[in-house]
Symmetry: C2
Amino acid sequence: MSLTHAPAGAVRQGSLRELNLALVLGRIAAAHRPPSRADLATATGLTRATVSAVVEDLLAGRLVSESDPAPRSGAGRPARGLVLADQGPAGLGLEVNVDYLTVCVVDLTGQVRHRTVHRADLRPVAPADALAKLVEMAGAARDDAAGQGLTLVGAALAVPGLVDDTGVVRLAPNLGWRDVPVPALLAEHPPLIEQVPGIPALVVDNEANFAALGELHSRPPGPSSFLHISGEVGIGAGIVLDGALFRGVRGWSGEIGHLPVHPEGRPCRCGGQGCLEQYAGQEAIVAAAGLAQAELPADTATARLAELAEAGDADALRALHDAGTALGVAVASVVNLLDLDTVVLGGGYAALAPWLCPPLLAEIAGRVLTAAWSPVTVRPSTLGAEAAAVGAAGSVARRIVAQPAGWLARSA
Amino acid sequence: MSLTHAPAGAVRQGSLRELNLALVLGRIAAAHRPPSRADLATATGLTRATVSAVVEDLLAGRLVSESDPAPRSGAGRPARGLVLADQGPAGLGLEVNVDYLTVCVVDLTGQVRHRTVHRADLRPVAPADALAKLVEMAGAARDDAAGQGLTLVGAALAVPGLVDDTGVVRLAPNLGWRDVPVPALLAEHPPLIEQVPGIPALVVDNEANFAALGELHSRPPGPSSFLHISGEVGIGAGIVLDGALFRGVRGWSGEIGHLPVHPEGRPCRCGGQGCLEQYAGQEAIVAAAGLAQAELPADTATARLAELAEAGDADALRALHDAGTALGVAVASVVNLLDLDTVVLGGGYAALAPWLCPPLLAEIAGRVLTAAWSPVTVRPSTLGAEAAAVGAAGSVARRIVAQPAGWLARSA
DNA sequence: GGCTATTTGTTCAGCCATTGAATTATTTGC
DNA sequence: GCAAATAATTCAATGGCTGAACAAATAGCC
């Protein structure tokens, strides 16, 4: 029932071409097999003549290329398949997290063309120094990408915290950051990307949001509306509705970790009581499993839990069951509210999914009003640990696909 | 950060005019004072020449008219102000609820031009008979509207229950409806509206959704993202994001009444435990206030509660405080999840807002992570009891404003 | 009271992108 | 080797926007 939203501004003569460029390129990106110009014409409703003209622009701008193995169909002149170019514009993804820095490059097709991970405890490091290290890594990534024929057109930085709409990190509790003006700090370094009209040079956002975007664009394509839960020290969620990330009025949506699951329960450091994080957060699970709150690095804690559960350790199994139940109460709220039919467990939860899912599904079945008509699917994320960085880089690449006119104007 | 969404389909030559018609008409609708053609040109970015041509089409189609008191500005040729026409297309709103039937007509400007309410206990009435009565009322409404120069171009029916995307009422528990094929039943009656390309003849949806739409389009215009809670026997919510209703994957979003606020609490008729409805539903409040579960009609129960609270009755005050607290836990979940900054209390809650708000706000302050940076506003709805019918009729009228091309093609 | 500055709204030639039909290109099947 | 079939391009026609010039109507000023 969604109304076809018109573009916000005026529709001038040239917008027509812009919109059709985006339409055709989007179809090429979404297709399962390389479509021909004729396929695109029937799919979009445009004339073959128009599609040819549009495709010519896209080819000239190196956004698409003709696939070598022409898709055979039967009699007639063979079609020339069109695919997204694996050379040309690409996105730079950056991530600062508690115990690592990541940089990666993703091309238009969504492939990861470069990745670097630097493991270190970032908590004692000053934000400016962490970002300087990240810029150093990004420089190497840019050079590597250039060698592969890729041009970086935008950067996206994922952080584990709240980011306002100017890119300032207001609060990243587990990192110890507060009011860090990331764009200003990065502006002191020489630019690594080529500015393209319509593509922001830098986007800063929550890691959970970018991880959800990564999931959205992963192959094979999944549903266009889902909830992606990142279980780390904190618990964040990315909400994808109709193929777009929902960021909320101020960009602070998805704070699922502070949904009250036991309103009179344990106090939370957020000031509330009985927040989900106190029952299904990494620290809570580790403590409930009887593991000493030893200096267990964050990234090995989940691995250790999975090991114990695999071995049948009763404490670990009970801890995971209780966490799954708490998670189920929160997820039931979300599903009742938003009527989503897919929940993706990401971050540390991905590896623990076999033990979290059964209690989680039980809660959903008992608490979701519409569960009888519309079953809810819960599955682990297909992406690895650095999903946020890949999602961030991918979001830049997708933006080129969604708005190719700016890039084409540049390269003309 | 929302990407400018391109129209879904192909952008042909004529789409350009369609889009600009919608753009200009939308500006006229959103303006505070009647804008001139020159105002529209600067606001939209179109040329004055284009705006003139577009406005000429709109005037010819009777969608706008020139306002008599020309807005004076200073030196120069006086501008001619443009306003939405109060004659021409209008929307028909219908509502079936537990104890009344309503029909109303809303014009392009959002004004209610006709309204009829028929009070009766609908629970023992067969769906087909209830709808027949509604059609009878709608016939009178159509005649009245025609006398005022209005043409009905679409109908929208609000029901207190779950509706699937074909318009079948899957479940309306308080009404006793189950799998009622409303479109098929209404198709047996002679058509009351004039079919217009692009405007659906009949839309069936949840009352909470339509009530939220009514709030969205009420004057003066409020925020474009908010949560609208309808507190009746059941508790429903309409979620408005960026000026559009969010309906969920299957259209079953907003079931806030079944958010678990005490996961191990009272059993609910939905099969779950500790649902909000068991603590803040009308029946729960009435019972907690010590009012005999006498045959108190639904629509007088809230009035009686407000009376008692006004008089300082301790039991009523405590009942409302507890309900507000439960509501606050649920709302805190929603706000943490969606980062909304406005909550509207509608339906029976509107009259009880003075007593519900304080505990509700206290819970939000304590449980919402971002409360410190972004205060959440809670206010009662400005619309009356039949908000859903008005919202339904208004949604039809808004659709004409959003897609004027269909109407213009007809009247040409 | 008449002149000028100012703003609104319209007219018109030019231009850009899409259209639709005709044309060319390239293969399969008989 | 020819007909049928499918893909892609060419080209005159068309619709709608642009930009600049022009007409209309008022306030302010001497």
